[in-house]
Structures are given as C-alpha cells and as structure tokens.
Amino acid sequence: MDKQALRNRIVKRVAEELKPGSLVNLGIGMPTLVANHVSDDMGILFQSENGMIGIGRDAVTDDNLDVDITNAGGQPVSTVPEVSYFDSSLSFAIIRGGHVDSTVLGALEVDAEGNLANWIIPGKMVPGMGGAMDLVTGAKQVIIAMEHCNKNGEPKILQRCNLPLTAKGQVNLIVTEMAVIEVTENGLLLTEIAVDTTVEQVIKATGAELKIASDLKTFGEIE
C-alpha cells in the first residue's frame, strides 16, 4: 500500500467522524487532507488557529491568490463565502472555550489514557507546540490521524507515552491505516480494522492493550 493510498484511507475514515454543521480544526500535514472527503452539504466549517473560520477547498491559483489569507501553516488558502476572520485572542477563545467540535491532529505517540505526544523529541526535534496544546485541551472531540507505526516499524500507540506530552487524557479517537480505536475510560477499544489486516496484526503493531469491540467492523478498501 503506497503512502498516498494509506493516507487517503485514514483521512477518508476520519471525515466520516465529523458531524454536520460542526466546526473543525485540521492540523498541518495529513489532517489537512480530511477536508477533501467532506461534502459541501454537511455544512462543516474549517477553523484555522491563525484567525479564520471558513477555509475553502478550492486550490489557490494566481487568479484567486490573496497573500492576506493564509492558514496555520502559513500557506495561502481559498475561502468559503461565509468566511470570517479574527485575531489570535478570539481564535483561541474559540478553541479553548470549547467552540471547536472536532480537531484532527497527527501524533508521535498516543496512549491508553488518551495522552498525546506530538510536539517535541527532546534533543532531536523541537518544533514547538504551536496551537496543538490548546486545540487538544479545548476541542470537544480530539481525533488522531496517523500511520499506525513509526518509520522504524515501532508502535506509536503505547500503554504510556514516552515523549513529553501535548495534553493529558484528551484524545477520543485514533484512526490509522490499520485500525479505528476509541479511547475509553477502560483503555483502548478496537472498533474497526482495515479490510486488509487482521486483529492479530493490529495487536502486534500496537504497544498497548486493546479491547476488541463485540461488533468489530471493517473499513477501507483493498488497494
């Protein structure tokens, strides 16, 4: 399964989690692609923490480029007609005040208690947390969209994160190319596995105890 197919499967599955009429913040990178799988009639609006609600899905071209409209990655974006703009103070009032229904973020590690690590690898990579700590703490629903294992094939889903945390106990759902896992009060619950994997493979690729849902479903397509 190539990288793009894998990512597509993940973001497509994440998109199904989003509620009609909701306000959603998509993290930089793979999470951004979730927007491609949300239909217009769902009335979902995308917030960007640098100060806008209503990122469009049209590609930015020379014709519609406005250098005063960029996203949280600093990239020019298009807008929907009902777009609004605001300063960072109101932007984070929206985020921290619980007005964002869902946020989708990547992870370095995520664990059985819903802890998330995605902002620092001490001594190696220190990008900073940006708005991630605020988003993960403030959004009503936190969805992690990531590859199941890291580059070395090691589990990123752990019993307990090793890396410094972004937030404690805030993750609600983990979606990877192999599995959909809910974070519950009793630990991780495997609710769906991809069509091209088995429960055993998921367990093997996961560094935390997994409970298996009685009505385990499948998702994705065989590539």
Partner: protein, 217 residues
C-alpha cells in the same frame, strides 16, 4: 486632533535598544512588519528579547532576525519551520521559551489589559506546567499563567489613519492588535495611511490610542 507621528523604517528601528523586549506581530510572516524587520536586520542592534508566535522562515520575516543573530532570547509557540532557530537553541546561542499559542496570545492580552494572570487547562500535565503555580477552583485544577508585556511592539496594519486607528486585513490580524496593547512603545507599519475620516470609524478594530508611531512604507 490627536495625530500620530509618521516616521521612516530607519527612524523606527533606532528606537529599539539592545536588551529590549520586542513583540513582533505576524504568523508565519503573514501580517509581519517586514520593512521594519529588514531595517532592524540592517541596523544590527542585537541582544533583542523577541516575543512572537513563530520564527517564520529563515529568510523571511522574524526569521531574518534570528539568522542575523539579532536575538538573545525568543518566546514563541512554534519554531519548526525555521531550522536556524533550533540550531542556535541547541548551541546555546539563543534562549528559547516555547509557549502554547493560545496561552501566548492570552498572556499578551492579559499584559495589555492589566490583569495579574489567568487560569488555563492548556499545558496541564505537560512540560509547560514546570515552575508554574497551580490554582484549584471548584475542584478543578488550572495552571496560573502570567501576563506578558514588552518595551516595544512592532506590528503591521493594512490601513492606518493618521490618528493611528488600525485595520488588519483578513488573517494578517493574528497577534498584531494584541501586541499593540501590551508594549510601552507601539510602532505600526502601515500598508496604507489614510486621512482621518476617510474610512468609516467602525472599520477600525484597534483604536489609535495604542499607537505611538506610524511607519509608512
């Protein structure tokens, strides 16, 4: 009428001294006062304590101040897209404090609004809580975050009238209006300067009272 002096970028950067705490607006260079930054690089003041949401790109905006070693410390939420910031941090040339973006925005607003601090859940149970007071309210634990102020704020506005009233276009708002409330000296780089009365008063979202100098570019 209370008009604000209009000065050149050269005059603006002369007002900044080594060791000053300097807030600089913009988000990944969108809405950053790029002309003033360029002149600050040229003047080479150095030893600045910069407060900003990110250090942008190595070759654009606030990143240029890092690349040209004008900063001795940086408080920011994100430095990932400017590898030079990380490099100077690792060699110990630059002191970096990483602050969650919402907490950074709120700390600046808090400084401008004269409050002593605020309680937030952001950062609880993470490295961010180190050295900070925790306060419990109705059984819920919060971090006490303290106000941030500065000697100088360098901000960028899209339209400024001669009384200093500012409009910030679209996503150029970001930290600009907040920083203008929290510094002793506020210098606004104006994309366009207009006469008082040319623009309907309700369009302005930052009152001119916060502005000390206007830089016309």
């Amino acid at each position: 009428m209370q008009l604000k002096p209009i000065i050149s970028p050269e005059q603006a950067v002369e007002k900044i001294k080594p060791n000053d705490r300097v807030m600089i607006g913009g988000f990944m260079a969108t809405g950053s006062p790029l002309n003033v930054i360029n002149h600050l690089v040229d003047l080479g003041t150095g030893e600045l304590n910069i407060i900003c949401t990110d250090t942008g790109y190595a070759d654009k905006g606030i990143g240029q101040l890092i690349s040209s070693k004008q900063a001795k410390s940086v408080k920011a939420s994100h430095i990932g897209l400017n590898p030079e910031t990380g490099r100077q941090m690792n060699t110990g040339e630059l002191e970096v404090e990483l602050i969650p973006q919402g907490t950074l925005a709120e700390r600046i607003r808090c400084g401008g609004a004269g409050m002593g601090g605020f309680l937030t859940k952001t950062g609880l149970g993470t490295m961010v809580e180190e050295g900070k007071q925790k306060v419990t309210v109705e059984g819920e634990e919060y971090l006490l975050e303290l106000p941030l102020t500065a000697d100088v704020a360098l901000v960028k506005a899209s339209i400024v009238d001669k009384a200093g009233n500012c409009i910030f276009n679209k996503t150029t708002k970001n930290f600009n209006p907040l920083m203008a409330t929290a510094a002793q000296l506020v210098i606004v780089e104006a994309e366009q300067v207009v006469e008082v009365g040319d623009v309907e008063a309700d369009r302005f979202t930052l009152p001119g009272t916060f502005v000390d100098f206007i830089v016309a570019v």
